[in-house]
């Protein structure tokens, strides 16, 4: 197979293909991959709630835009109520030290 992770462990790399991607790469079935990526998405949505509100404000006026803005604001308000954006802002400021 061209995909090294589909080959049995110990399979030498194909000739002429510069590659170190191990055939022993850990793989998971689609269900697990989808769950992992969905969680990445959820964390991204939580951590970037303020940016999502800004992005929603920048959407062109169209049917559904108002609803999207309301959802984004509601999501951000819910997270603000538990203090997440404030914590992340403080972290961002800390990480910007010396910039």
């Amino acid at each position: 197979m061209q995909q090294p992770w589909l080959n049995p462990p110990g399979t030498p790399p194909r000739r002429g293909v510069p590659d170190d991607f191990s055939p022993a790469s850990a793989t998971m079935p689609l269900r697990g991959a989808t769950a992992a990526l969905a969680l990445v998405w959820l964390i991204l949505l939580a951590g970037r709630s303020e940016a999502i509100v800004d992005a929603a404000y920048g959407l062109p006026v169209a049917p559904g835009t108002e609803t999207l803005i309301a959802v984004a604001e509601g999501w951000n308000d819910a997270l603000t109520a538990i203090g997440l954006p404030q914590v992340l802002s403080a972290l961002r400021e800390g990480l910007a030290t010396g910039r």
Binding site: L6, T27, P29, A33, L44, G47, A55, G98
Partner: protein, 460 residues
């Protein structure tokens, strides 16, 4: 559409779900879906050029049918010339008119030519497909859809890596395995790439490199020195980040791309550097230009040196119609020829010799990148003058110096670090892996400056 943006995250989520759903329920529709996704990805830059991509793709497929397995060499020449002509028009028409036609005294209008994103990478793959099927190194593809999916596949469409037909087309022939998706490998590549791009490259660019190269006369010697070293680190962190992310996103869809960067700044010779830097382009130039077109090293030492110089100069000009790119290629070509004459393939044995050769190699690469980054030769002269004009250096900060040092230190990590991390992640259940990747992603976004600068190699 840039990888490190919310819109791309949305796009990729839709493609991931659509692709794997079709692989499961209707594999025959998956390639059409992928082509639509590729064109949608490109349409964020230019809807008009989507039609051009399809036209050149169909041209490539047709020439492949005519020229396959040694048939019709004229068809191959016409096919390659057609693709090169398309590339040359966009990249060099104005340069040719202004620098050559106008200097000869003829009227030379300035054409309104906009360089399409990723055109070079697209053309290189098209040429490699035609040449390889003619030489029998790749199977001719009867389906135009497969050739179009191969050429336009969105992870590599904008800035590579250049993937050979013989490696990619067989992956389209059978549906990817939905029970074995290398999530950890892809996650490490994507997050590592994001770290290099968002944290190191973006901050070096905005903090020191861009301001100094815009107006060197306003900066002191240390500022200029850090900008020169910083750009060397920036271009690596920017370009290798794109390649790593492209490889990672392709892997999440079940496709494999070869590695494109292999810790290039640990090289102790120029020839080793080119085996580690932009591997897909350097092997493309080696196989199609240096060996097939110029004859490689089979025609004597003098001709070999000429071939090295010609390959590197053409590689330089490929980056754009500017004397600085030509000089960048010439410096590399000359350095490779000198290295070949002085040390050949001999490896340094003592620690002192290794260190000396590493220092020489790194600084030749760094000085050549100064030519590469400078918009014109006047800027290069200003940078050199600025090293001795005694102005105070106020742009240098410990943070920028540390980031440049970090970008260099990456090269001396164990080469199998990714596999080791992967081994550590192997026991984690999917949700724990997702949580770990999500938190690292968030940390990277918090650590980098706001906004995303385009990748350097988009312009080529």
């Amino acid at each position: 559409m840039l990888f490190p943006t919310g819109i791309f995250a949305l796009f990729f989520a839709a493609v991931f779900l659509g692709h794997w759903t079709l692989v499961r329920v209707r594999p025959s529709l998956d390639r059409a879906f992928l082509l639509a996704a590729n064109l949608a990805f490109y349409a964020f830059w230019s809807v008009e050029f989507c039609a051009a991509l399809i036209a050149v793709g169909l041209w490539t497929w047709g020439i492949g049918l005519l020229a396959a397995r040694g048939r019709s060499r004229p068809a191959l020449w016409i096919g390659v010339a057609g693709v090169l002509g398309w590339l040359f028009y966009f990249k060099y028409a104005n340069f040719f008119l202004q620098e050559i036609v106008a200097r000869l005294g003829f009227p030379a209008p300035i054409l309104d030519v906009v360089l399409p994103v990723g055109i070079s990478f697209y053309c290189f793959q098209a040429i490699s497909y035609m040449v390889d099927v003619h030489a029998g190194d790749a199977e001719v593809e009867p389906s135009p859809l497969n050739v179009l999916v191969y050429l336009t596949f969105f992870p590599h469409l904008a800035a590579g890596p250049i993937v050979r037909a013989a490696h990619f087309l067989p992956q389209l022939a059978v549906p990817p395995d939905r029970f074995r998706i290398p999530v950890a490998m892809a996650g490490i590549l994507i997050l590592g790439g994001l770290f290099k791009k968002m944290v190191i490259a973006n901050e070096l660019a905005t903090g020191i490199v861009d301001p100094v190269f815009r107006d060197p006369s306003a900066y002191g010697a240390w500022d200029i020195a850090l900008a020169c070293y910083g750009y060397t680190i920036q271009i690596f962190c920017d370009f290798s980040a794109y390649s790593d992310m492209a490889i990672g996103f392709a892997a999440l869809l079940g496709f494999h791309f070869p590695k494109n960067f292999d810790q290039p700044f640990r090289a102790v010779s120029l020839s080793e550097f080119w085996r580690r830097w932009h591997i897909s382009l350097s092997t493309w130039l080696r196989d199609y230009l240096y060996i097939r077109a110029l004859g490689g090293n089979r025609r004597g030492e003098a001709r070999t040196r000429f071939n090295l110089m010609a390959t590197m100069v053409l590689g330089g000009i490929w980056h754009g119609a500017n004397w600085t790119f030509l000089l960048w290629g010439a410096v590399h070509g000359a350095a490779l020829a000198i290295e070949r004459a002085l040390v050949g393939r001999a490896e340094p044995r003592t620690k002192g010799a290794i260190l000396l050769r590493w220092l020489v190699t790194f600084h030749v690469v760094m000085l050549a990148f100064v030519l590469f980054r400078a918009p014109d030769l006047g800027t290069v002269a200003s940078l050199v003058a600025g090293l001795g004009d005694g102005l105070p250096s106020e742009a240098v900060t410990w943070r920028l110096a540390a980031l440049a040092g970090l970008g260099l230190a990456i090269h001396f990590l164990p080469p199998d670090l990714r596999e080791r991390i992967e081994d550590g992640l192997r026991p984690l259940p999917a949700l724990a892996l997702g949580a770990a990747m999500g938190l690292v992603l968030l940390a990277i976004l918090l650590a980098g400056p706001e906004g995303v600068a385009p990748f350097i190699y988009f312009q080529f």
